[in-house]
């Protein structure tokens, strides 16, 4: 029934387990010239199998090794048997150690916490998946900071409720700033450790407060970010509540500052009631009409810890336009933009992508009135990094202003320093400002530049170095965002500004 040459033998005294023999069969069958091979212990089952393959099988007992090879010719048989000898004597080439050699790093936050007692997860995966990882942390009873944005408010509420029940803090989503025990997480300035605890539903608001405190020589115990929606009606201050309670219990914290973009009134009221029962005093720095600005809030904090407020640093050349001008505020920091918008309200109407009168950024920028635009808004960060990392859009807008302005302009920009921010923001901003001023000058229009520079001298970029570089192109640089906004307002009204350069 089959052509070719058969080789059948039964060997005594050789025992191999069935897997070894199946491998050996496969090896032999794969040799050139070999058609089929069955290497097996001579059990009745295997003898029958060999018969089924057309071999003439001798009498044998199961203790014998059956070798049945069919090949084209004797050369094939010889090659097959040689391969068999090798296959049966070969030892695995691997080290035999118990290291599997595979990268078995945990693939999820949950898996990582199974083998770790770390107290915090920091999540910056794409938004649609961030909540999944964050739930792992909460389920493991760990605190979590969600840097990612694009997490739904429903997921935020579910996470924060689960966190409250588990006694762990859910910071975020869209929480860019925190300092825990002196360690900066995300965007944060280099500040000394000290008695002031900060709870922040506002990233750049927290950076402004911690930087000004540092400038005044007062340090921070912890800065706990919450994400910008925490004090909204829907989220209801779930994160703030837990963070405030934790800082009240923290022996290193003598005073707490709560900073937020304009919050929901009822949430604020609840938190005030909560903190009334605290042993640690709490300062509220909540943006809104009639509320102290962030700089004033810091000054109150300083007074409360018996430190004196310095005169906040200002560097550069005084700007004296002498006649009214349009104010253009281009911001990277959302809270800094919101604070500026409140402070220049008397210039209304103001085109802006912030607050109750918000319009899309492109519309706000094309208007013929005063402008405040937050370049960190979601609309402008789709598919690109935050302007604190990638300044391209704002630089383009400054160039456009230089090209198109049809009269005097006051340009107010913020620059935020610290961990996570551009390594040298002045490097790109300086030529853009110089070029814009020059283009406008060619048409006989003056450009006054006011910079709100948020940071400390200990930051990697150094507040002082950046301020000097910006001052050299004619900008007036303020450490206090509120002072910068007020100065810009005065310039825009054509008044002689109160602040003067040092």
């Amino acid at each position: 029934m089959t052509s070719g040459l058969d080789h059948v033998e039964c060997r005594q005294g050789q025992y191999y387990d069935s897997v070894t023999l199946m491998q050996a069969s496969r090896t032999v069958a794969g040799i050139t010239g070999v058609r089929v091979a069955l290497i097996a212990m001579a059990t009745p089952l295997n003898l029958e199998l060999a018969e089924g393959m057309g071999f003439v099988v001798p009498q044998a007992v199961p203790a014998q090794l059956l070798i049945a090879v069919r090949a084209e010719d004797q050369t094939g048989i010889d090659a097959g048997l040689a391969a068999l000898t090798t296959a049966l004597s070969a030892r695995t080439a691997s080290s035999g150690g118990i290291d599997s050699g595979e990268d078995l790093r945990p693939a999820t936050i949950g898996a990582a916490f199974a083998d770790s007692d770390a107290a915090l997860a920091l999540i910056s995966v794409p938004g649609p998946y961030a909540a999944i990882e964050a739930f792992d942390a909460v389920a493991a009873g760990r605190n979590v900071m969600i840097f990612s944005d694009g997490v739904s408010v429903e997921d935020e509420i579910a996470l924060k409720r689960a966190g409250r029940d588990a006694g762990v803090l859910v910071m975020g989503p869209d929480c860019g700033t925190a300092i825990v025990s002196g360690v900066a997480l995300g965007f944060a300035n280099v500040v000394r450790r000290g008695p002031v605890g900060i709870v922040a539903a506002s990233g750049t608001g927290a950076q402004q407060i911690s930087s000004l405190l540092e400038t005044a020589g007062v340090g921070v115990s912890h800065l706990l970010g919450l994400g910008g929606r925490d004090l909204s009606e829907r989220v209801g201050g779930l994160g703030a509540e837990l963070a405030l309670i934790a800082l009240d219990a923290d022996p290193d914290t003598d005073l707490i500052v709560l900073v937020s973009k304009p919050p929901d009134d009822q949430v604020t009221q609840r938190l005030r009631t909560l903190t009334d029962g605290f042993s640690t005093p709490v300062q509220f720095a909540l943006l809104g009409f009639g509320q102290p600005d962030l700089t004033q809030a810091v000054e109150s904090v300083l007074a409360a810890v018996s430190a004196s407020a310095p005169s906040w640093p200002v560097i550069g050349q005084d700007q004296r336009p002498g006649q009214p001008a349009q104010l253009h505020g281009y911001f990277a920091g959302g809270t800094l933009a919101a604070e500026a918008l409140l402070l220049i309200d008397e210039l209304a109407p103001i085109s802006t992508n912030l607050g109750p009168a918000a319009v899309p950024a492109t519309e706000a920028l094309s208007g013929s009135s005063h402008v405040i635009v937050d370049f960190g808004e979601d609309e402008l960060t789709q598919g690109r990094a935050h302007p604190m990392i990638d300044p391209t859009l704002r630089l383009d807008q400054i160039t456009r202003l230089g090209r198109t302005a049809d009269g005097e302009r006051v340009l107010l920009v913020d620059v935020v320093l610290g961990h996570g921010a551009e390594p040298n923001p002045a490097e790109a901003l300086v030529p853009a400002l110089r070029a814009a001023a020059q283009r406008m000058g060619e048409r006989g229009h003056e450009l006054s530049v006011i910079v709100s520079l948020c940071g400390t001298d200990a930051d990697p970029q150094s507040w002082h170095c950046q301020a000097v570089a910006l001052g050299d192109v004619g900008a007036l640089v303020f450490a206090s965002n509120a002072q910068a906004a007020r100065h810009a307002l005065a310039l825009a009204r054509g008044a002689i500004p109160a602040a003067s350069a040092r």
Partner: protein, 471 residues
């Protein structure tokens, strides 16, 4: 809550990160301890479904409860008797492996086994008549799993076949499984020649009654204990059952000898069990079934309670989705072949025996049985890596099933559908391979995985339930 936020504010900060590498770098620059998760986007699943499951407040506790049942379940062999008595099976109702299937969709080995069973039951006198009865619906088909039973390979179980009865003394369950026929031409691989039918008759006439009499004398046999021991003796409990089968024989041999049947039958039975290194598989499987049935019906649980194949489709069930099967086309195992057989001769994956992996042994405990990995030409490190990977998709470790080479770490237990989706790691199953053509029998053994679509469907169904429970 003794200390708010745990030790976040009081101890030196230590952080686990997932996402952009800017953050771990910045933390290390500040001298902070960081562990970086090897994160990648989930392998499948609508992000909203994944989030809905992750957010389901019932899930963690439900998975813990389900898994605690799996870990706590015991398994004692209490009786061996005909399926007609034990399961109340009418003669025209045939049980089979895997999710539900029509005869017309059955692959070769299942067809062969059903034909063989019809001949064995005397419902047909030849294969053609058997096919006619199966096609016409005069013989009805239902999954073993729907009758608290499991069956290896084709899993065909009928009224006259003797089945073992196992009890879980902890959770109170009962499970059943046929007796193992040995290797080669056997019904479960789809063979139905005269020798196959004759062996089944001998099993009903001699083996079953002798085992029953022996159990009456010896009292229950602790199957869980044997399963635990065999994992320390080079078996993984699915494709390698040598130590388990010998221990079972050791435990029951005195009572078999003492059962009062003629010595020649005692010898037949001892020779049959001793000559079949997979004899124990048919006790391990119902032991696993007991544990997983105990884990059923925890609302919100995403733990898998059954993986089973009928030779055409692979199906899974989860604790949180009741009796629903989530199915996809069964894949063909990758492995070694007997004699002249090759990949073209192999049938797609078949059998309820993946209940072993669902329990956490078999492929999940491959590290305990490095010999098994050679079925695909792998190495000992491969075996270790396989088990370590399975920890990434399971919610617990079973201390009863300790794996020596992993420093006695417990078997990875409680497959979580959400973890499978997030990691893209599919369960590893060790299995035998049946011939594609009815009547062939076994052609090899190897490794196989479930089709991903089973888990995709399960995920969508769990997410749907999570949403409706919260809304």
């Amino acid at each position: 809550m003794s200390r708010p936020l745990g030790a976040l504010l009081s101890a030196p900060l230590s952080v686990v990160t997932a996402g952009v590498d800017l953050f771990p770098r910045a933390l290390r620059d500040q001298g902070t301890a960081v562990e970086v998760v090897d994160w990648r986007p989930p392998a499948f699943g609508d992000p909203a479904d994944l989030a809905a499951l992750a957010a389901d407040p019932r899930r963690v506790a439900a998975n813990r409860s389900a898994t605690e049942r799996i870990l706590s379940a015991g398994a004692e062999l209490v009786d061996v008797r005909p399926a007609a008595d034990a399961l109340g099976l009418p003669r025209d109702l045939f049980l089979h492996a895997g999710p539900p299937i029509e005869f017309g969709d059955a692959s070769g080995p299942l067809r062969g086994a059903l034909i063989g069973a019809a001949l064995f039951e005397g419902l047909a006198t030849d294969p053609d008549e058997a096919v006619h009865m199966l096609e016409s619906g005069r013989i009805r088909l239902e999954p073993c799993h729907h009758h608290r039973a499991v069956g290896p390979m084709a899993g065909v179980t009928t009224a006259s076949m003797w089945v073992s009865e196992l009890r879980d003394p902890i959770n109170g369950g009962t499970a059943y499984c046929s007796l193992n026929e040995g290797l080669g031409k056997v019904l479960r691989y789809g063979a139905y020649s005269a020798e196959v039918i004759d062996r089944l008759r001998w099993m009903g006439d001699v083996l079953g009654p002798v085992l029953s009499a022996a159990l009456n004398r010896s009292g229950p046999v602790d199957i869980k204990s044997i399963l635990a021991q065999m994992l320390q003796m080079g078996d993984e409990g699915h494709n390698r059952n040598r130590a388990g089968s010998l221990m079972f024989l050791r435990d029951l041999a005195p009572a078999i000898a003492d059962s009062g049947v003629p010595a020649v039958q005692v010898a037949e039975v001892l020779r049959f069990i001793g000559g079949n290194e997979h004899f124990f598989l048919n006790y391990g499987m119902p032991a696993a079934k007991l544990a997983l049935d105990a884990a059923r019906d925890f609302p919100g649980s995403s733990v898998v309670v059954a993986m089973a194949r009928n030779g055409t489709e692979f199906g899974i069930q989860t604790s949180g989705t009741g009796d629903a099967w989530f199915t996809g086309p069964a894949l063909t195992p990758d492995g070694l072949f007997l004699g002249g057989y090759g990949p073209d001769d192999a049938n797609p994956d078949i059998g309820d025996s993946a209940i072993m992996e669902t329990l956490g042994v078999g492929g999940f405990s491959m590290a305990a049985a490095p010999a098994i990995v050679r079925f695909v030409g792998g190495t000992v490190p491969d075996a270790l890596a396989t088990t370590r990977r399975m920890f990434a998709i399971t919610v617990a470790e079973n201390p009863a099933y300790a794996i020596p080479v992993l420093e006695f770490r417990g078997a990875p237990t409680g497959i979580d559908v959400l973890s499978v989706a997030r990691t893209g790691i599919l369960p590893q199953i060790n299995t035998g391979m049946a011939g594609r053509v009815a009547g062939t029998g076994q052609v090899g053994a190897g490794l196989v995985k479930p089709p991903q679509v089973c888990f995709e469907k399960a995920l969508a169904a769990l997410a749907e339930r999570a949403r409706s429970s919260s809304g």
